[in-house]
């Protein structure tokens, strides 16, 4: 039962693409928990691991050589802003996951990033054309403060799941909370169900 705020009308910038509790943002705000890490592309790799073994690893050049998608998606930040039609370029997780061996029991993924950030996502949410390793934004290389050289892009979940500075994805038979998920944010983070915090 909502309390009515006397005289409040709001801006009513409603759009069917706007999930509940979100507002439209024209810019591209930056949120991160610490300093922006400095990456060296000469030694950079992206890996898929599981049960302590490396299933696949790609250098920067190898990742760039894989088929890339141009992706136009709406992104939804848990801090309430939504950016429509953001334009990315990157490699589908389908391409990467199809290249490695995965135990059928390994249904959960935990992304690891430079700087120590982690986030958890079910493996199913990384498949089926729903997730990418993105390295381009708006026709240019992804800038460091936005997660460059490369970040996860999982636009159907709140944007903290699209981990900046991603370096590996660890597969496991069990789910493990990541950084924000341990600190009170929802384990799954569906913006259309407004799963912002624990218990939502």
């Amino acid at each position: 039962m909502a309390i009515v705020s006397r005289g409040f009308r709001g801006k009513r910038a409603t759009d069917p693409r706007l999930p509940p509790g979100q507002y439209l943002e024209g810019g591209f705000p930056v949120l991160s928990a610490g300093p922006t890490p400095r990456a060296d592309l000469a030694t950079w790799t992206f890996s898929i691991t599981g049960s302590g073994t490396t299933r696949g690893s790609w250098t920067w050049a190898e990742l760039q050589a894989l088929p890339a998608d141009d992706i136009v998606k709406d992104i939804h930040c848990v801090t309430k802003w939504t950016k429509l039609d953001s334009a990315w370029r990157g490699v589908s997780l389908d391409t990467l996951l199809d290249a490695v061996e995965i135990d059928p029991e390994e249904q959960f993924a935990l992304a690891h990033c430079d700087g120590g950030y982690t986030t958890n996502v079910p493996l199913a949410d990384l498949r089926g054309g729903k997730a990418w390793i993105a390295y381009g934004y708006d026709g240019a290389p992804l800038r460091p403060e936005h997660g460059g050289p490369a970040r996860l892009l999982i636009p159907h979940l709140y944007f903290w799941k699209s981990a900046k500075w991603v370096r590996s994805i660890d597969l496991s038979p069990s789910d493990t909370y990541g950084f924000w998920e341990k600190l009170g944010y929802h384990a799954y983070g569906d913006p259309w169900k407004e799963q912002r915090y624990w218990g939502d």
Partner: protein, 266 residues
């Protein structure tokens, strides 16, 4: 490595210790801080306290059911896990900076009157927090209204007589934009305040005017060898520049926590 605190490190999904319900808050007092900022003191029945640096989500609802949510930092000192401060306190303070063309901040600062009710939930954000049990030196670096959560930390430090050395560097455009100006002068022993004016200083201001420089951070802040815990809050460009300069100066990135305010033009 940034690591979540030990007490939640072993948490597993489906093991959620609490939820964050919407609560009804009543405005009991307002304090104009600047021409564009207002502090709202609210009574929140059922409020369970907060740590210094946390924020709340505010929800406004129109008569026809349309609603809008935004986040605001708590300016009041911590009241969680601190029996001497009255953990049962249900009074909180938010400082709201009006956002040009904003949807919620103009209502909160201009239309909300004493006795009016709004909905809020929190506290939110268990990372950008300072615990008064931490005796490590603390460096706070604020840009504009990014001072609000850092003020909660400074007030917590003062209220519980922390022995942790604390330094606060505040970057503000002009004296007319300065939040909590008088209180910063009175924070007293244990909290050293340094001001940086980016456009113009007060009359007869002896220091430079301009953006925070690495040299100023080095001169007024703790040295990397002191291993301070660092909290930086402000607009994105400010936070990026300050955090980057601190890393260049030799500060451990793992001790630097950041929070950003407002949109960027990128």
């Amino acid at each position: 490595m940034i690591e979540a605190p030990d007490e939640v490190a072993d948490l597993v999904p489906d093991d959620v210790p609490y939820s964050v319900p919407w609560r009804v808050a009543t405005l009991v007092h307002r304090v104009r801080e600047t021409a564009t900022a207002m502090t709202l003191e609210l009574d929140v029945p059922g409020w369970r306290g907060a740590m210094a640096g946390q924020h709340v989500d505010v929800r406004l609802t129109a008569e026809d059911g349309y609603s809008a949510q935004r986040s605001y930092s708590l300016a009041s000192p911590a009241s969680m896990g601190m029996p001497v401060m009255g953990a049962a306190s249900e009074r909180i303070a938010l400082t709201v900076q009006v956002v040009d063309d904003g949807e919620v901040s103009p209502y909160l600062t201009e239309d909300l009157e004493v006795g009016d009710q709004i909905e809020l939930r929190g506290p939110i954000g268990n990372w950008f927090v300072w615990h008064p049990t931490d005796t490590r030196p603390v460096q706070l670096v604020a840009g504009g209204s990014g001072l609000v959560p850092l003020m909660s930390m400074a007030r917590t430090h003062a209220a519980c007589g922390s022995s942790a050395p604390m330094r606060l560097l505040v970057s503000v455009r002009t004296p007319a934009d300065a939040l909590y100006a008088d209180e910063l002068d009175r924070l007293g022993p244990g909290v050293e305040v340094t001001r940086v004016w980016t456009r113009s200083g007060p009359p007869a201001w002896p220091g430079p005017v301009g953006r925070v420089s690495p040299a100023q951070l080095a001169a007024s802040g703790f040295a990397p060898d002191d291993s301070p815990r660092v909290f930086v809050c402000g607009p994105t460009a400010f936070v990026e520049a300050v955090a980057d300069a601190l890393v260049d100066l030799g500060h451990d990135p793992d001790l630097i926590r950041t929070e950003r305010f407002g949109p960027t033009g990128t």
